[in-house]
Amino acid sequence: MEIFFQLVISGLVNGSIYGLVAIGFVLIYKCSAVLNFAQGNMVLIGAYLFWTFKVLLGLSLIPALALGIVCSFVAGMIIERVTLRPLVGQSLLAMITITIFLSLVLEGVTCIFWGSNPLSKVEIFPKGNVALGSLNVPLDNIFSFCFAFLVMIVLIIFFQRTRLGLAMRGVAEGHQVVQSLGIRVKSILTISWGIAGVAGSLGGVIIADKIGFELGLSHIGIAAIPAAFIGGLESPFGAILGGLTIGLIESIVSGYLGNAAGTPAAYVLLVIVMLFRPYGFFGLKRIERV
C-alpha cells in the first residue's frame, strides 16, 4: 500500500506538470483551433534558454527564470508570426501538419545551438525529504507541485479576469465578431502563442529539475496531449484535471506494469474517453452545418 501512495504522490507531481503543458495546448487551441504538436519542443527550448542564462551566463535563479520567461514569450510570438500567420484561413490539415513540422525545425534548432548531448544539471528546488505520516516525500516534488499549481492558477486568473484574457476568450468564440469589436485578432493570436511558450518553458524548467536538461524533455509534449484532450481542449480548468488524471494513471500503471507502459496507458484511456465523450469532459460540443 505504501508503494501505491508513493506512486500517487509522484503521479500528482507529474500530473501538475502535464497540466501546465496542457494549458499551453489549450491556450493555442482556444484561439486558433490548432493543436500545437510543437508544444513539447517549446518546453525543451524554454528549459534550454533557462539553462543558458543560469549556467552559461551565471545568473542566479530568479533573473535567469525571468529572462527565460521573456525569451520564450518572444520565441512563441516569432513562431506564430513566421509559420502560423501565413496559414490563417487554410485547411485544418495544413494547420495541424505545420505544427508537426515546426517540432522538427525546433528540435533541429535546439540540436544546432545546444547539441544533442545532455546539458549539465542545475539544482532549482531544494532537495531533501519530508516525512508525511509514514511516507517520505521528496521536498523538490512538493516544490515543483506547488510551483506548477501557482503558475496554472495565475494563468487561469489571467484568462478569466484581465481584459487581455477576455479578448483571448473572445477570439476563441469567433474571429469576425471580435474584429468588429475593435480587438486585433492577429496580435491576440501572437500573444497567446507567446503565453503558451511561457507555460511550456516553466513546465520545462520544473521537469528539467527532475530529469535533467536533455532532448528527451520534448517527449512531455506527447505525454501531455492526452491530458489536454481528456480535460477538453477548450477548458484550462479541464487541462489541470486532465493533467492530474493522466499523471496518476501513468504513474500507477508504470509502477505496476513497467516503466514503458505509462504513456501507452494514457493513450488507451484517451481513445476510450474520446469514443464516449469526443470533446473531453469540459470541452465545447461543436454542432456542424454543411
Binding site: 493543436l35 509559420t83 501565413p86 496559414l87 487554410q90 485547411s91 485544418l92 490539415l93 495544413a94 495541424i96 501538419t97 505545420i98 508537426i100 513540422f101 515546426l102 517540432s103 522538427l104 525545425v105 528540435e107 533541429g108 534548432v109 535546439t110 540540436c111 544546432i112 545551438f113 545546444w114 547539441g115 544533442s116 548531448n117 506527447i222 496531449i225 484532450f229 513497467g258 514503458a260 507502459a261 504513456t263 501507452p264 493513450y267 488507451v268 484517451l270 481513445v271 474520446m274 469514443l275 469526443p278 456542424e288 452545418r289 454543411v290
Partner: protein, 356 residues
C-alpha cells in the same frame, strides 16, 4: 488538393467515361510509359548509377513510396490525417519477419499476411473515425503509434533486439544484393502505384474525395461515411504493411528501432511536399525528401566537423531543421506540392510557344 484536371492535346477526345478515366490517354503516353518502365528496370545495369550506394537509395525510396502511396490515399484523397503510419509499417514488417523467422515463408507468401495484419491494426485504430474527425482522429493514429510500439515491445520477444529475415529467392536464386533486390522493390512499386491509380479513379476514390471535401454533404449524397473511412484506413495500412514486409526482407533484419514516430512524420512530410491527393506527387515527394535527406546527412556532419563552435549533434539538427523547414515552406508557398508544379510545367510545355 483538387482532382486531376487534364487538358489533352488538340484532337484527342474522350467520347465516353471509360476513355476519360484512362490512366494513359494518348499513344505517346503509352510509349513514354513503356520507355520509362524499361529505363527504370535498366538502372542496375547502367554503369555509373548502379553503385550499391545509389541502388540502396533507390530501394529505400521505393519502399517509402509504397508506404506513402497508402498514406496519400488516406490523407490526400479521404482527408483523414494519419500520424502513425510507421507503426503500421512495423506491424507489417514484424508479421512478415516472424512468419519468415518461424516458418521460413518467402516474401511472396508473407507480403499478403503482412498487409492484412497491418490492415487489421488500421481498422482497430480507424474505428474511432465513426465519431471523430480532423484533429481528434489524428490523435487516435498517434495513439496507434504509441500503443502498437508498446505491444511489440512487450509481446514479441525479439522486438527490440531484432531478428534476421531471409532475402527473397526464386528457385535457389537469392535477391540479396542491392542490384538484385532493386528489381523486386521496383516491381512492387509499379504494381502498387497502378493499384493506387486504379483505386482513386474508381467509385471508391470519388467517394473518398467527397468525404474529404465535406463529409456531411457526402453522407447526404448517400455515401456510407463510416464504411468508406474504414476502407480508406484499410487501404492505407495495407500499403504500409506491404511496405513493411518488403522492408523486412530487404534489410534481412527487423527491429523496433526502425519504426519510430519520427518516421511517421517523414511520411507525412513526403506527401505534403509531393502534393496531397496526387499519386505522381507522392513519388515526387518521396524522391525529393530522400535526396534532401541524403544531401544533408552528408553535408551536415561536414559542417559540424568544420565549424568548431558547433556542439555535437548539430549535423542531425541541420537535417531536422532543413526538412521541417522545407515542409513548412511548401505548406505556405505551394500547398498543392510538387505535383502542382509538375502540372504547371507540363501545361507550359504543351502550350509552348503560345503560353497565353
Amino acid at each position: 488538393m483538387s482532382g486531376n484536371t487534364y487538358y489533352p492535346p488538340s484532337g484527342i477526345y474522350s467520347d465516353n467515361y471509360r476513355k476519360d478515366t484512362r490512366i494513359l490517354k494518348t499513344r505517346k503516353q503509352v510509349v513514354l510509359a513503356f520507355l520509362a518502365l524499361i529505363l527504370l528496370f535498366l538502372v542496375p545495369v547502367v554503369p555509373g548509377i548502379n553503385s550499391p550506394y545509389l541502388l540502396r537509395l533507390f530501394i529505400g525510396a521505393g519502399i517509402a513510396a509504397i508506404i506513402c502511396l497508402g498514406l496519400n490515399i488516406l490523407t490526400g484523397y479521404c482527408g483523414q490525417l494519419n500520424v502513425g503510419q510507421s507503426s503500421f509499417v512495423m506491424v507489417g514488417a514484424f508479421t512478415a519477419g516472424l512468419l519468415n523467422y518461424n516458418y521460413a515463408l518467402p516474401l511472396w507468401v508473407t507480403v499478403i499476411p503482412a498487409g492484412l495484419a497491418a490492415s487489421i491494426a488500421g481498422l482497430i485504430f480507424g474505428a474511432p473515425s465513426v465519431r471523430l474527425k480532423g484533429l481528434y482522429l489524428a490523435l487516435t493514429t498517434l495513439a496507434a503509434q504509441i500503443v502498437l510500439t508498446w505491444v511489440a515491445l512487450n509481446f514479441i520477444d525479439l522486438a527490440s533486439a531484432g531478428f534476421s529475415v531471409e532475402p527473397p529467392s526464386i528457385a535457389g536464386f537469392y535477391f540479396d544484393t542491392p542490384a538484385r533486390f532493386y528489381y523486386i522493390a521496383m516491381a512492387f512499386v509499379c504494381v502498387m502505384t497502378f493499384l493506387a491509380k486504379g483505386i482513386v479513379r474508381s467509385g471508391i476514390g470519388r467517394a473518398f474525395m467527397a468525404i474529404r471535401d465535406n463529409d456531411i454533404a457526402a453522407e447526404a449524397m448517400g455515401i456510407n461515411i463510416f464504411r468508406y473511412k474504414l476502407l480508406a484506413f484499410l487501404i492505407c495500412t495495407f500499403y504500409a504493411g506491404v511496405g513493411g514486409a518488403i522492408f523486412a526482407h530487404y534489410m534481412m533484419w527487423v527491429q523496433l528501432e526502425s519504426f519510430l514516430l519520427i518516421d511517421s512524420v517523414w511520411y507525412v512530410v513526403m506527401i505534403i511536399v509531393g502534393g496531397l491527393g496526387s499519386i505522381e506527387g507522392t513519388i515526387f515527394g518521396v524522391i525529393f525528401i530522400v535526396i534532401l535527406k541524403e544531401i544533408i546527412s552528408v553535408v551536415g556532419p561536414m559542417i559540424e566537423g568544420g565549424v568548431s563552435f558547433l556542439p555535437t549533434g548539430a549535423g542531425s539538427g541541420f537535417l531536422l531543421a532543413a526538412i521541417g523547414g522545407a515542409a513548412i515552406l511548401f505548406l505556405i508557398v505551394e500547398p498543392r506540392g510538387l505535383a502542382h508544379r509538375w502540372k504547371i510545367i507540363k501545361s507550359y510545355y504543351r502550350l509552348w510557344p503560345y503560353g497565353y
